[in-house]
Symmetry: C2
DNA sequence: GCAGTAGCGCGTATGGCATACGCAGAGAGT
DNA sequence: ACTCTCTGCGTATGCCATACGCGCTACTGC
């Protein structure tokens, strides 16, 4: 069975990404590397979106046949996992002098930047907790920011999941919806405004008083942009975490 | 063009879901309804997952040909939007006497319950802000919980997005990863534990000190279950919102 | 009552997709 | 030199969404 080895339970290609797995010097030399395959797939996704990534497209980009790829990757979702890992890249180092909150804010912003650079990454389906090299490295960096707090280890992990989930979700909303809006020929800036217009047509004050009230203030039209939405959410969450930390001391 | 009408910019089938669109008594009586199609699709998704929902499968479930469905829905993603809307269902009424926080907590828990009933719904790709009847009704209810706070309308919407995004993301993690784990033949309870085992094999104390420290406490093994994770995250976020509300008064 | 016409169901066809299977040749270890 | 494993890949299967156009239905205006 090519899907397991060394008892990690991980797919073979993911083990290869961790640098386990030596070449058994038997048959012909491989003409490809996992890295080249992943790079080609990432290039396609960056150019034409995740939907354009097909095994045959990746293969033809590399000048090989479709089925050759299956010598390196046992299924397409392994390739997707590796693409996501490549999208994250190694986490930024992090400055040791900083308090947990500003360090963690940097971490979250850096993660968001990674998604901004590779918007397709938010659409990779997640079927397992983080287990690729860069994912775990990001997790390590995030936990390191929380090291000096009085949170329990379990709480640190919960906070990490909470914030990374927020960043991912926020990135998805932002980059995905804006991209879809652009695809429909509208300018990305007009997304909120045309949503408001739509809701005005669909809702009436009797059945939707709260929505109507929100629409009346016109604040849909001046949302301040997606970046403000990100900052707002992150600040709220970190305020909540800070409250927990304070309650502990 | 069948994709637009009445200037809402909405797909025809979504307008139909809003109850706009009268039948122009011209041609033969339709043999199907949008509702029956959506119900069939939901049934398939509930039984075999979202991936099992194909136009031909839905059609054969209804005893009609594949292409008949396209008289009611102009593309598969419209069907998916309608399925998602059906998964939410109408929001619970909400008790008027409650303060914002407990009302909003109820709202979030109810939303999570809706996802728990239809785990496939978290995998419906989002390409637009909420614009189906039940989505907007849930939004109305959520905003109503925040009515008596001193937040601006824009902030209320931001808070709503923050919390609904959290619920969706948390549901995805929980139900999706557990389902994948179950599919691999493992018991859902062992998911966290086997992740910990995996990380122990992949990380060393030199390169991953924080992860190693977290693993050493053994808190991975006793995570308290996904429900605790949900409650923890929600409490943190609401603490943050509460801090904002207090700062305003 | 009758023609026109819009809406309906559906058969057929196109062009994608992931991937199972097995073959031919490479090349290291014996 | 022989064997055995690993390589690349051609072929084939069975999915998928959906464009197009035909024959039919049943209501509207005459």
């Amino acid at each position: 069975m090519a899907t397991e080895e060394s008892g990690t339970g991980l797919p073979a290609s993911i083990e290869a990404a961790w640098g386990l797995r030596e070449r058994p010097g038997k048959g012909p030399r491989p003409g490809l590397t996992l890295g080249r395959i992943v790079d080609a797939a990432v290039g396609i996704a960056s150019a034409d979106g995740l939907g354009a990534v097909s095994m045959s497209r990746v293969a033809s980009e590399l000048g090989v046949s479709t089925m050759s790829l299956y010598r390196y990757v046992s299924a397409k979702d392994e390739l997707l996992m590796l693409m996501e890992d490549a999208a994250y890249g190694p986490p930024p180092p992090g400055e040791p002098g900083k308090d947990w909150r500003s360090g963690f804010t940097d971490w979250a912003r850096a993660l968001r930047t990674a998604y901004a650079r590779h918007p397709w990454a938010v659409n990779v389906p997640i079927s397992a907790p983080p287990s690729t090299p860069n994912s775990v490295a990001w997790m390590e960096r995030g936990l390191a920011c929380l090291r000096r707090t009085n949170l329990s280890e379990g709480e640190k992990i919960s906070v990490l999941m909470l914030v990374s989930g927020f960043v991912r979700n926020e990135a998805r909303m932002t980059f995905d919806i804006l991209a879809a809006h652009r695809r429909k020929g509208q300018s990305p800036e007009s997304a909120m405004a045309s949503w408001a217009k739509l809701l005005e047509k669909l809702t009436d004050a009797e059945h939707f008083p709260a929505v109507t009230a929100a629409l009346r203030t016109g604040e849909f039209e001046t949302p301040g942009g997606p970046d403000d939405e990100f900052v707002f959410g992150l600040e709220r969450i970190l305020d909540g975490v800070e409250a927990l930390i304070s309650a502990r001391s």
